[in-house]
Symmetry: C2
């Protein structure tokens, strides 16, 4: 069996993640499509390899992302996925919001469903959770996929 370049992509994280694996994969996949933009469809298997994402899981994610209006796909030999919006028009916020569209919008910012909140309408911490949520999405919304590509070219990364 061939040893994969990324040995441990399967292992789970040890601690609470700020961003789910799925959301990270979705972001990386769209980032990868953006880097390939204008060169025709990119195959799931290629994206999976380039971005160290389990291929079968990526199928599910990309298929879901078709509903967002950001990507489209084509079957057959020269098939694959491609962006239908320019990278400078897609923000991280778009991706995050789309993947969390099923979250009830009446939930508080700590993401506790209101129906399950023991302090319905009287939660002391609500304003703070809201500030946190707003601060996060402020960053997500002002970061476009093009920005991320530009950062990579400028070598603005870890370490």
């Amino acid at each position: 069996m061939k040893v994969d370049k990324f040995l441990d992509y399967k292992s789970r994280e040890s601690s609470a993640m700020l961003i789910t694996k799925k959301n990270q994969y979705a972001l990386r996949a769209i980032f990868e499509l953006a880097k390939h933009n204008g060169k025709g469809p990119r195959k799931i298997s290629e994206i999976a390899k380039a971005q160290a994402i389990p291929a079968k899981f990526l199928e599910v994610i990309l298929n879901q992302l078709k509903g967002s209006g950001m990507v489209n796909s084509k079957r057959g030999f020269y098939g694959g996925y491609y962006l239908i919006q320019p990278p400078e028009k897609i923000t991280v916020g778009h991706i995050m919001r789309f993947l969390e569209r099923d979250v009830d919008q009446t939930d508080c910012a700590a993401l506790v469903p209101e129906t399950q909140c023991p302090f319905k309408g009287q939660c002391t911490f609500f304003p703070m959770w809201n500030k946190v949520k707003a601060a996060i999405f402020n960053i997500y919304d002002e970061t476009t996929i093009k920005d991320l590509i530009d950062n990579e070219k400028a070598n603005v990364n870890c370490k």
Copy 2:
């Protein structure tokens, strides 16, 4: 069997939470101790009832919080937990950081352990995750427990 005021505190949340239950409970417990500050120890059972926290789980949390230097406890009939720092000196950031002290500090801001990152030292998204993390803790660090009590008195809450 007596019906609890908070029927559904046991049910799990439906979606990914920004803040874990444990961290929320810890914050609420310290908030409760702060409201009782100067009036002697507060029993676990009282805190649990006032803040709708499973008592046995709260035992674990408060016991862990003793290591933070924020609270102390006393056994026996007039026993319970009490703050050993003034509410204006304790920030939400102190609590969050303490409860996540076991997270490896070399982990990236998306909280993916560096040893498991497929893009070791080359992650394009690192700067963004760091900005998000910084934005969150900026809010946590500037919010003291006293602030939260003041907000409650001023009725600055949900809805």
